[in-house]
């Protein structure tokens, strides 16, 4: 069944799987979750004829776990995906029913835009968005394996992926690039109490074992196993909400997307979240049920930051834990208990939640469960998210060992851009850590690898003062249009207008320079700590807590009032400007290191440079793409970097000389 047909490729009558007129695409995306949908949309935006294959079309865009988007660190990713014209930001603005900026009191660099979502609206938005994307076809089916052939000798890689095999005997489909975004479905196993069943999500069929086999055996990739879980869903009417703390959304919702001035949900229509706490009784139930809990007894690595209630209680006993009861949608009669992910047998789950006073009479609609799944160790990927060994194969999302919708969407978008560019014979690009959280995410994955599901935090970004959620458009949208080709003209024009407007406004602010005494006379109720003789310009003045751009604009309406629409952003720019200047130098150094690429065909174990055996082994395992990546490898000493640097410079020079000789 086709959700959307492309006029060029399909006859109007051929709508079922296996009846594709065209068996050749630029890009095939396998999986319709957050990574898959962003990947497919991005590839199509770049200009590739794209096919999205998913098990069930009606589950495209489903929020499998929590009904929320964004947060601290994650909100940055949503804003960046939006700045590159991705889907999730606009979908969040459409589906959001409760908006708040987390960390409001801690400084704009770490603000975390977040929203509770209506599950139905989110899914509908994503599906209709994909439906109207040109060059994108959607096919329902299960992928059984990958088509491979001899590699292109001009490029690194031992094998070439040329398409996919569909289950049920249909003919294989060819493509120049294939993106796998299979989430938890790769050899997925579901745990509840002592029962274990095959699958990646409750209610969906398990994915074919053939794909896992291809990755392991045919491609010889290193595979690891991770686990995650989801809490039971609770019937709202059975909860005593009077015993909880009611937390309303922000009075003025802030949209995720740079294109939206407001959210679909009106401020007064927002639904609240409810906060409650665990009791010692919860701990008791966990401990009683431990022998019935197959998931917890296994030693597969789970996340430290999104653990089940069982592992929280076991690791930090005797503590009261927070439980957030989150709305699931405008029309939904369910609440999602954030913090109560569990894998106990269903009857114990009910006993456990009823130990919480507000949930004393609560009913469970669907019990919580755990998932264990395979992931591909992401150190085997290049910065474009292409598998180093396999030409044309890209991976994104949980298959790379990450957790979270936002992390998946960010990778999906980048894999989509890369796969499309590869298919269209355009040069592959890399996103720098110095420019985006997406760059930080990908660099961390491919350089450090993962030992537990990877989630974004602001503390992972060393240039946090510069990489803010408010300026993602300035950092990415123009590049996205000019270099990557994944940004629409409309967004590009808006980003250029914003960049120019902010630049002019800052220049205007800097042109107004006065002594502190004069400023205080002019503006009245402000307090400046600087010595009275020192001169300050308007931009520097914005660094002070109680100075707003509006105040300055009303004092100098002639040159500033034209920029009033930027006032919030100008205030933030003014606050961080001095620190931006300081970080710029360090960012430049990192960028330089990232520009020094290391050859991929080097045998580090025998390389004739002075390196310790430990360093050789680390380098051999990681095969870093750039000197910058090498510096971030654990166990690499500064002296090893010096030697690598010299080696790179020397080989560069030798290559140059060779060229001269030719």
């Amino acid at each position: 069944m086709l959700l959307r047909r492309s006029k060029l490729l399909l006859s109007p009558s051929s709508r079922a799987a296996g009846h594709l007129v065209c068996r050749y695409f630029d890009v095939i995306v396998v999986g319709g979750g957050h990574a898959g949908t962003e990947a497919a949309a991005a590839a199509a935006r770049v200009g590739a004829e794209t096919l999205l294959i998913t098990q069930k079309i009606k589950t495209i865009g489903v929020l499998s776990c929590n009904p929320s988007l964004g947060g601290v660190g994650k909100g940055h990713l949503v804003r960046e995906v939006d700045a590159l014209d991705g889907l999730c930001g606009r979908a969040g603005d459409w589906a959001g029913i409760h908006f708040s900026i987390l960390n409001r009191s801690k400084g704009p660099a770490v603000w975390g835009p977040r929203a509770q979502l209506d599950r139905d609206r989110y899914r509908e938005f994503i599906q209709s968005e994909l439906l109207s994307t040109p060059r994108l076809t959607v096919l329902e089916g299960a992928v059984e394996g990958l088509l491979v052939s001899e590699p292109n000798p001009d490029q690194p890689g031992q094998i070439k992926v040329t398409g996919v095999r569909i289950a049920g005997g249909a003919q294989p489909i060819n493509a120049k690039s294939v993106i796998l975004t299979t989430g938890t479905f790769l050899s997925g196993a579901l745990f509840m109490g002592q029962t274990v069943s095959q699958g990646g999500r409750m209610g969906d069929p398990p994915s074919c074992s053939g794909l896992s086999h291809t990755l392991r055996e045919t491609l010889g990739l290193k595979i690891g196993r991770l686990r995650t879980g989801t809490p039971p869903r609770i019937v709202k009417d059975t909860v005593q909400l009077s015993l909880t703390k009611v937390c309303p959304g922000d009075k003025q919702p802030t949209p995720f997307s740079f294109l939206n001035k407001e959210t679909r949900c009106k401020p007064e229509e927002q639904l609240p979240c409810y906060l409650t706490h665990t009791t010692p009784g919860v701990e008791r139930v966990v401990k009683e049920g431990l022998h019935l809990n197959a998931h917890i007894q296994q030693d597969t690595k789970g996340p430290r930051y999104c653990p089940s209630i069982e592992s929280r209680v076991l690791r930090f006993p005797g503590r009261e834990q927070q439980v957030w009861l989150e709305p699931e949608g405008v029309a939904s009669d369910l609440l999602y208990p954030q913090g109560l992910s569990m894998t106990l047998p269903p009857e114990l789950q009910l006993r456990l939640i009823r130990e919480i006073p507000a949930l004393k009479q609560a009913e469970i609609r669907t019990p919580g469960y755990g998932v264990q799944y395979d992931f591909v160790c992401p150190t085997q990927l290049s910065p474009s998210l292409q598998v180093k060994k396999a030409q044309g194969l890209f991976l994104a999302g949980q298959i790379n060992g990450t957790t979270g919708y936002e992390e998946a969407a960010a990778q999906g978008l980048w894999a989509g851009v890369s796969a499309a560019r590869a298919a269209l014979s355009l040069p592959l690009l890399a996103l720098s850590r110095t420019q985006s959280y997406i760059g930080v995410l990908i660099d961390d994955l491919i350089v450090q690898g993962v030992t537990e599901p990877y989630r974004m935090f602001t503390s992972r970004a060393e240039f946090r003062i510069v990489l803010r959620s408010d300026n993602a458009d300035l950092r990415l949208s123009t590049r996205g249009f000019e270099e990557m080709g994944c940004v629409s003209m409309q967004r590009y024009k808006e980003a250029v207008r914003m960049t120019d407007g902010l630049r002019d406004a800052m220049a205007a602010l800097e042109s107004i320079s006065m002594s502190c005494t004069k400023w205080m006379e002019k503006l009245g109720q402000i307090h400046l700590s600087k010595t009275k003789s020192a001169k300050l310009n308007g931009l520097e003045l914005l660094e002070y807590k109680d100075v707003t751009f509006e105040m300055l604009a009303s004092a100098f309406p002639g040159c500033l009032s034209a920029y009033l629409e930027f006032s919030k952003r100008l205030k933030i720019e003014g606050l961080y400007r001095p620190h931006y200047m300081m970080q710029e130098q360090e960012m430049e150094r990192v960028r330089k290191d990232e520009n020094l690429s290391l050859p991929q065909d080097v045998d580090y174990l025998t390389l004739p440079i002075s390196l310790s055996m430990e360093a050789r082994e680390v380098l051999d395992r990681a095969k870093p793409h750039t000197l910058g990546a090498a510096t971030r490898l654990p166990g690499i000493t500064p002296s090893a970097i010096v030697h690598l640097l010299n080696y790179v410079r020397k080989t560069d020079k030798e290559r140059e000389q060779e060229r001269v000789h030719i």
Binding site: V110, R315, F457, S459, R460, I465, S610, V642, H643, N646
Partner: protein
């Protein structure tokens, strides 16, 4: 007797500079693949019982095979064997000694290495060194090259290299002791401890930023960070205010001879270094530029500078000399003010006022004359021209004077009174440098000082933004950690996250 103990240590300081230069140069632009095999006499020069010659590099095995008769097989690693050492060209027997084989990477340099423990005669050593030089691919080591190779092989961290570099070239006893202590990692441990505490503070701060919205992380966490940062700041500042003692010990105490023209400053310099380092003449204004020499005073290194006599002059060259003299006095750790004692007033009561006025004209007094006076020692010269009675009277009056620096009455002509002066000077050295084996570990490197100063500045950024913008406050902690990390090694984001998850129950 004392004069024998004065050794010129300028050479050592030259070598040290050279070593550091080579280290930096090689780190920056040279030294890719150490294909060469190097050798050097590792024990001291001169007569000694046992001399150790070290060899490092890929040809080490070849050296052992061709010079120690081991062509049929190398000895077990790190085991001493007694062998005949022969010249590979002539097969002539050079010595009989212990030979050791250290296959890389488990050696000091990380490369294949060998050691020859020989009899310490000059002829033996020269013979072995010449023989080594004849083996193909083997050459004498540059200063500090063994250490550099060890560093490149990841065998030493930066503080250890600095400690080792100093040890190799430590000429004075006190320097050697301090270098040893640094190499043992005491300084590393101190900095490491700071780094760990900073990491923890930063982790707690980051936990508050990244998780407090969803988790039970109380604001109390930040109060703890406040306290910890304040404590740390105090400790680092205290460390920085050690009066530059250890750094002085490394690079020498700056002692400047100053005074009026013809007071005998240059004669005093020549007396101290026991050679005519400066031109001496009865003409006022003979010394026009700064003359500098290095001395060892009781085990402490001293850089002694003679300066132009301070007077108003129309001669442009001399004027420049006077300007430079004043500049030196500003920067000095000790100012030795030489006074012509025949110019002192006959009336002993007015000697104190005279000297106070005189010092005021010579010492920098814009900021704080008391501080300048504390840095000063008085040398009353030309004692031989005074009568016995005058000498006694003078000595009595200066010993009773209040507010005057310590004074020594001596004669550069005869050397009378020099021992008394040296006792006073040595005491002062001890105060300035400290005994390296007593008290807290102090700074030895200007580099450490610079990073620690940056760290303290960054910590004040934390306080400045603590109530305004937590991202900027955390940035202060990060910068502080990076600065300390420049000394001890870096701290990555994962380590910070490890602490977050160890110390907090994060459950979202």
């Amino acid at each position: 007797m004392f004069l024998n103990s004065i050794a010129v240590w300028r050479i050592s300081s030259f070598i040290r500079k050279e070593f550091r230069f080579n280290l930096t140069k090689n780190l920056c632009c040279k030294g890719i693949y150490d294909a060469d095999t190097i050798f050097a006499l590792s024990s001291g020069h001169g007569m000694c019982g046992v001399a150790v010659v070290r060899v490092s590099g890929p040809a080490s095995a070849l050296v052992l095979q061709s010079m120690a008769g081991l062509s049929r097989g190398l000895p077990p690693p790190r085991t001493a064997v007694l062998r005949n050492v022969t010249d590979p060209r002539s097969q002539e027997l050079l010595d009989r000694g212990l030979v050791l084989w250290f296959p890389g990477p488990r050696s000091f340099t990380g490369e294949d290495s060998a050691e020859f423990h020989l009899h310490g005669g000059a002829a033996v050593i020269t013979g072995v060194l010449q023989a080594l030089g004849s083996v193909p691919g083997v050459r004498p080591a540059e200063a500090g090259e063994f250490t550099r190779r060890a560093f490149h092989a990841g065998k030493l961290d930066l503080t250890e290299v600095e400690g080792l570099g100093d040890l190799i070239h430590a000429e004075t006893e006190a320097q050697r002791r301090q270098a040893l202590r640094q190499m043992e990692g005491e300084l590393s441990r101190l900095y490491q401890g700071w780094s760990q505490r900073l990491t923890r503070s930063l982790a707690h701060m980051e936990a508050f930023i990244d998780f407090s919205e969803d988790e039970l992380i109380e604001e109390g966490v930040l109060n703890e960070v406040d306290l910890s940062v304040l404590q740390l700041q105090r400790e680092i500042e205290g460390h920085l205010q050690d009066g530059r003692r250890a750094e002085r010990l490394r690079s020498g105490v700056q002692a400047v001879i100053a005074g009026a023209t013809n007071a005998g400053k240059s004669s005093f310099l020549n007396l101290l270094c026991q050679r005519p380092a400066a031109i001496v003449s009865p003409t006022a204004g003979t010394t026009r530029d700064v003359v500098e020499t290095s001395l060892n005073i009781g085990g402490f290194p001293v850089v002694l500078s003679d300066t132009a006599g301070l007077r108003d002059t129309g001669d442009s060259v001399e004027m420049e000399g006077v300007r430079r003299a004043k500049e030196r006095v500003q920067l000095a750790d000790v100012t030795l003010v030489v006074v012509d004692s025949t110019q002192l007033p006959q009336n002993y009561q007015s000697v104190q006022n005279f000297l106070t006025d005189h010092l005021r004209s010579i010492l920098p007094n814009e900021d704080d004359l008391t501080a300048s006076l504390q840095r000063c020692l008085l040398v009353l010269n030309k004692r031989d021209l005074l009568s016995r009675r005058t000498v006694d009277g003078l000595q009595k009056s200066i010993s009773q004077a209040e507010g005057l620096p310590l004074a020594s009455l001596l004669s550069c002509q005869t050397g009378d009174g020099l021992d008394d002066f040296l006792d006073v000077f040595q005491d002062r050295m001890r105060t300035l440098c400290g005994d390296p084996l007593v008290g807290s570990v102090s700074l030895t490197q200007a580099r450490h000082r610079c990073h620690l100063q940056q760290c303290v500045r960054a910590l004040s950024q934390y306080h400045r933004y603590r109530d305004v913008d937590l991202a900027l406050a955390a940035e202060g902690l990060r910068l502080a950690l990076t600065s300390v990390g420049r000394i001890t090694g870096k701290v990555g984001a994962e380590q910070i996250l490890d602490i977050i998850f160890r110390d907090f129950c994060i459950g979202k």
